[in-house]
Structures are given as C-alpha cells and as structure tokens.
C-alpha cells in the first residue's frame, strides 16, 4: 500500500515537473522577483524585498508652489523648524517655504538680492543655504565667489571669500558649493577644485584651515608603476589626491556628516562613502553593519546606470538615523547610528517617488524632502506605518525604554519577517532586560557575533555561578578518581611484593 502510494506520488511529481517545463517562459521571467520599491541587504549581501518604509506624499513643482517664474536647476535645500529654504540656482534666487503640512507648502518670500555690502547685491547661482541658531542666513553664492552672511531681513553682515593659503592655486576661482554652520556660526564649506578638506572659517570671517581631508588611497601596482615611470609619463598619470566631498550636513549634536563619491575600487573594497567628522576633523562614524555605509552593493550596469552609488546629499534625523541620496540611481539609503542599513528605496523614473536627477535632501521630523534638479520639483516622503514603527522602536531604545522598544520591534517583525534589524533590535532589548539566552537566539539568527558575544558572556558567567558546585565536583572527580585508582594499585603492588610476605611464603 505504502509502496503504491510512493509510486503515485513520484508519478505526480514527474508530471508536475514536466508541466512546469512546458509552460511558456514568460511565467518564469515574472517569478524571478526583480525588486520592489523598498529593499534592504542581508548578512550575505543578498537583496531582500522589504515592506515600504516611505511613501511619496506629494510632489511640488513650480505650479503647485504657485511660482510665476518656473524653477530652474534647483541645487540646495535647508530646513529650519517648519521653514524650508530652496536654492533655485538657475534663477539666482532662494525660495523660503513654510511647511503647513506635508501636503501643503507655502511660499513665504523670494530672496534674490541682499541689502548693503560692498560686493554684488544680487545673488548669482546660489547652490546652498544654511541658517544659524541666531537666525542669520548663510548663502553659498557660487557665481559671486563668496559665502555671504546676512541677517533675517537680508542685511549684509559679512562675506567669506577665497582662503588665503599658499598651497592654493592663485588662478583658482573660488566656487563654494555646499556649506554648514555650527552653533558658534563657524562656517564649513566645500568648494569646487579644493580637495584639502572642508574650508573652515571662524565666526569673524577669517579662514582658519582645512579640516577632515579624506585619506589618500592608492594601490601598490600604481605606486610601483609611478616609481618606474619617467617624468613625462608621471605627469600624465592620475595623481594620488584626496577626493572632494560631495556634501555636508551639520547634525543636532554639532558633528559634520560628509559624503564623498567613491571610485569603483573603493566601493568594491567596501569603503564607507559617509564620514562623520568631529571638531578635530577625525572620522568617528560607527560602521558596525554587515556592509559599508555607501549605498548599493550591486554596482553592475542596469537600465543605463552603472558604478557605485554617488551620495550627493545627506540628512541626519534626531534619532541618529541618517538618509543619503544617491544621484546615480535616484535612491535613498537610511542608516542607523550603528551604520546598519535601515531602508533603501527609490529609483530613476518619472513616477512619484522616483527621481531623474536628485540633488538635495532635507528632513522635518521624520518627513523627507527631496529636490530633483531636472524635474524641478520637491518630493515629500512620509513614513508608512511600518516606517513609523521602526522609528518608534529606535527612539524608545535610545530613551532607555527597552521593553517598549522590544515590543515595537516585534510588531515590525510581524509586518516584515525579513527585516534583519528587527531581530537584532529585539535581541538588544532582551540583552538590556538581562534575558541573555533569548537574546543570543535572536543575534545568532542574524549572525550578529558582536552582540551575541556580549549576551553569551553574561549567560556563561551566570551559568558558571549557578553550577559552580557541579563544576568543582566534576573537576575533582576527573583528577581524584584516576589518582586514587593509581594509589590503590601501587599500594596493592607494594603489599604483593613486600619482603615480609615473600619471606613468609618462603617459610
């Protein structure tokens, strides 16, 4: 009976397999899942589909904003409270917007000229803007070769010009592109053609040096070739210089997040594309993730795009989640304070939530505002329920509410069982609740050796303390039993060969 059943089953299986092969190939093509909108990478670097983290809420173009003159090549965006400053670079103006809700942005004023000052009154190709805590506005006035500081009524205060530094080429035209301002109104700025790091100005306008140059990397074969090459050959070779930064962002703690474009080799070597600079200009970015902080792992060409992600802008939320904008493939990548990828989504295209040439990103609360310089639009992205849950879990953990955080991660897991961060999140909250054995299980599932070891160390300590009696007993047994057996044997041997007995036997 059983055998017959088995035969039937194999027969059915063979039929099913042949049927599957006979089906048209198109069915097969659709079943190989080529990505959804939102995704993530697992421990192996495999692409994992994810529940949507952000949805595009509304796309604002010139007509939605009610502008007479259409936006042209917008480059920069800055958010302060509920106010957004959009650099309409092509029209030499900055548009101040008030965010009423994610679905409603209102034009407050248009800044195209400043009052007073010795130089040009009109802005020329402003590429970035920042507002200090005191309300002063700093504008990277690219076309006028200066960074200009004005008060909130646009009265000229001071300007920051080309640094007086002997190492700079005197012919170089100063073109500040991106800037950040700290609480003391010191200015950090990136300029085209200056790769010595960020240009730092004190709050009195004096240039005080370059900070945080990217370390120079070169490979040994290039180095050896260079040693062997003649003077003329050497001049034609690429020189080993630090790469320029793409963009900077000053976070709420005063650390500067800077992004740089990676070469293909750097991306393949899994180097970070983001640096977090402290006051000394040292990189203190935590990169505990399975992969580097640098966007996509797959660098092959597809849909006309190839090479590593080019992170053109970055924004850091108050929960230390930072979002990078890739202008190569039009994607957004979120990372948490441990450098683990929280989400990745987007793409190139014309639909809402896709981009053609994204240039800047900002956040208000958890909402993201992305400027597209080709579409001339601002896309507003709001977190989905899933995204809100993840943020809730992250924030509760930071506050020290480990149980609430664990519950939120559990809810995240219910919505998306493939979300690795949730396993590690639950593990971390269990670890803080001193439930080490359960925490170990969650860490092991997602190959988090570092956290696993933390939990295991405690677990092992407790286990040893609880079983110390047994451990001592086993060790004693292991040593004493062979020892005493040997002793007994030797005593017996001595008795057997003792002289008195031998003598007695003789007698």
């Amino acid at each position: 009976m059983r055998k017959k059943n088995f035969l039937m089953r194999t027969g059915m299986a063979i039929l099913a397999i042949t049927a599957a092969f006979l089906q048209p190939l198109q069915v097969k093509a659709t079943s190989t899942s080529e990505g959804g909108y939102t995704y993530n990478y697992d421990y192996w670097g495999d692409y994992v589909n994810s529940a949507d983290f952000y949805n595009s809420c509304k796309v604002f173009t010139s007509s939605e904003l009610g502008l007479d003159l259409k936006l042209k090549n917008p480059q920069g965006l800055f958010a302060e409270g509920n106010t957004l400053y959009l650099c309409d670079s092509g029209n030499n103006r900055i548009i101040e917007l008030n965010r009423v809700s994610p679905e409603q942005l209102e034009v407050v004023r248009i800044i195209d000229k400043i009052n007073g000052g010795s130089g040009s009154k009109e802005l020329n190709n402003p590429t970035d803007v920042a507002v200090s805590e005191d309300g002063n506005i700093f504008i990277a006035d690219n076309g006028n070769a200066r960074v200009v500081k004005v008060d909130k009524d646009l009265n000229f205060i001071m300007e920051f010009v080309k640094p007086t530094d002997n190492t700079l080429d005197p012919k170089l035209v100063f073109q500040p592109t991106k800037l950040a301002v700290d609480t003391a109104e010191r200015v950090y700025c990136i300029a085209t053609g200056i790769n010595k790091g960020l240009i730092k100005y004190e709050n009195d306008g004096t240039f005080s040096g370059f900070v945080g140059a990217t370390p120079v990397t070169f490979n040994w074969t290039d180095y050896i070739w260079k040693k062997l090459a003649s003077q003329e050959q050497r001049a034609k070779m690429e020189s080993f210089v630090p790469t320029e930064y793409e963009n900077i962002f000053m976070d709420y703690e005063g650390f500067i997040y800077a992004t740089k474009a990676r070469t293909l080799e750097q991306a393949q070597a899994d180097e970070n594309a983001v640096r977090k600079l402290n006051l000394m200009g040292n990189d203190i970015l935590v990169s505990n993730g399975d992969w580097s902080v640098g966007g996509d792992l797959y660098l092959g060409s597809g849909g006309g795009y190839e090479g590593p992600s080019i992170l053109t802008d970055i924004t850091v939320m108050d929960n230390d989640v930072y979002v990078c904008l890739d202008r190569n493939r039009g994607r957004l990548f979120g990372y948490d304070d441990q450098g683990k990828m929280v989400f990745a989504f987007g793409g190139n295209g014309n639909m809402d939530g896709y981009f053609r040439r994204p240039s800047a990103i900002e956040h208000i609360g958890h909402e993201l505002y992305v400027v597209d310089s080709l579409d001339c639009s601002i896309t507003v992205l709001v977190p989905t329920q899933f995204g809100d849950l993840v943020y809730q879990a992250v924030e509760e953990f930071d506050k020290g509410n480990y149980e609430t955080s664990g519950a939120a991660w559990q809810e995240v897991l219910n919505q998306n069982g493939n979300y690795d961060l949730a396993y590690i999140g639950i593990g971390r909250s269990l670890l803080r609740q001193e439930k080490y054995e359960e925490a170990m299980k969650y860490f092991e599932l997602k190959y988090d050796a570092e956290n696993y070891s933390k939990a295991y160390k405690q677990y092992r300590k407790i286990w040893v303390e609880e079983h110390i009696g047994w451990i001592v007993a086993v060790i004693l047994l292991l040593f004493l039993v062979p020892l005493s057996i040997g002793k007994v044997k030797s005593i017996r041997h001595e008795i057997d060969t003792a002289d008195i007995f031998v003598v007695e036997k003789k007698g």
């Binding site: 192996w44 190959y447 050796a449 570092e450 070891s453 295991y456 092992r460």
Partner: protein, 219 residues
C-alpha cells in the same frame, strides 16, 4: 609504545595498533614515518580511516562550529565539491609526488605515499574536533585562541607531510624540501593539463552536437 615490534597476526588488533601508531607518528615524525613503511607499522585501513575522519570533521565543522567563526551560505554549498577540496589536492599531491620521486631514487611506492600523507593528516581531526566543540563556548574577544589553534593544526599537518615524504623516500633534508617544492609545481602542471583536457573534450563534444543539430535541421 614503540617497544612493541613483534608482528601482530590478528587483523583486527593490527588495525587498532596501526591506528594508534598515528599518534606516535605525529609526535615523533622522523622515527615514526620511517617505521611506518620500513617496519610495516601502518595499514591502508588506518590511513583510510584517518582520511575519512578528516573529511567527516571538515563537514561537521560547517554545521557545529559557532557562527562567530564560520557562517555558511547553505544555498552555495555543494557537499561533493566541498569534499573534493580535500580529496582533489590530496590525489594530485600523491600522484605528483610519486611520479617525481620515482624518477629520482625515491624508495616510496604510490600506496606508501598515500598512506604516509594520510597519517600526516592526523592533527587535523585530532585538533579540529575538540576545537569545534570549544568554539561554541567562546566570545569574539576570545576568538584569537580558536584561530591560533586552528592554524596550528594546519601547520603541524603540513610539516608532517613534508617529514613523512623524506622518510618514505629515504631523502636527505635538502633533497626533501627540493622535491616538496617540485611536487607543488607538478600539481600545478597537472591542473593545467587537466583543464586543457577538459576544455578540449567539451569543445570536441560540442562540435559533434552542433553537427548533429545541423543534420537534424537539414533532414
């Protein structure tokens, strides 16, 4: 232990004795490998057992070593290829070594080269098995212990293989090292020839297949 040189008649006892002899070999390589063939202390059965244990431990390690040290992408594992990663180099080594040394006064036969090489693998299962269990009781901070001991087992086995070859073939130390290097080259040459062979064969087969296809289209 070595004092016992009387021939053992019972095959089972002889097997057990020759297996135990592996422990003597790995601690006294020069003396041990000399007697392995010259005093017939080793048996093929024991050599096969050691090889089998090596393969077994290598596979068990995948599953039972802590994920701190080895993470396995199970979808990418082909168990036969994985076993071949030991068997194939071993076969190349044995054949290459025998082929070279037999031309240069080597006294070892093919079977003896195989037996001695297998005996020299003993440290691998001997160390890796306890290490595999041990790995589940350490944290990343103590990971160094694991990697050092693990490397030790490999280095030990490698040194034993070299020592064994010298004793089997009755070579001096210098000649032994020379032929170790020469054997490595021989292995490379064999791989090269095998690759040419297989690509030629596949091209040849492809030719006849395309010929047959062409015929079928025309008919």
């Amino acid at each position: 232990m070595i004092a016992n040189t009387k021939p053992i008649d019972n095959p089972k006892d002889r097997y057990i004795d020759s297996l135990k002899y592996a422990l003597y070999c790995i601690t006294h390589p020069l003396d041990g490998f000399w007697d392995l063939t010259h005093e017939k202390r080793g048996t093929m059965a024991a050599a096969n057992t050691i090889l089998f244990l090596t393969l077994l431990i290598r596979v068990l390690k995948l599953r039972y070593t802590s994920f701190i040290f080895i993470t396995v992408y199970w979808e990418g594992i082909n168990i036969f290829l994985y076993l071949a990663s030991i068997l194939f180099p071993l076969a190349l080594w044995v054949v290459g070594n025998w082929g070279l040394t037999t031309l240069f006064d080597g006294k070892g036969k093919l079977g003896q080269v195989y037996m001695a090489t297998c005996y020299a693998l003993t440290p691998y299962p001997l160390i890796q098995f306890p290490l595999m269990i041990f790995s589940n009781f350490v944290t990343v901070e103590e990971a160094e212990f694991y990697s050092v001991v693990s490397a030790l087992s490999l280095v030990w086995a490698a040194l034993l293989v070299i020592a064994a070859m010298g004793q089997i073939h009755e070579y001096s130390a210098g000649k032994n090292i020379l032929f170790t290097v020469a054997t490595l080259f021989a292995m490379l040459v064999m791989i090269f020839i095998l690759m040419i062979f297989f690509s030629m064969i596949s091209q040849g087969v492809a030719y006849f297949i395309s010929l047959a296809k062409e015929l079928m289209f025309r008919m």
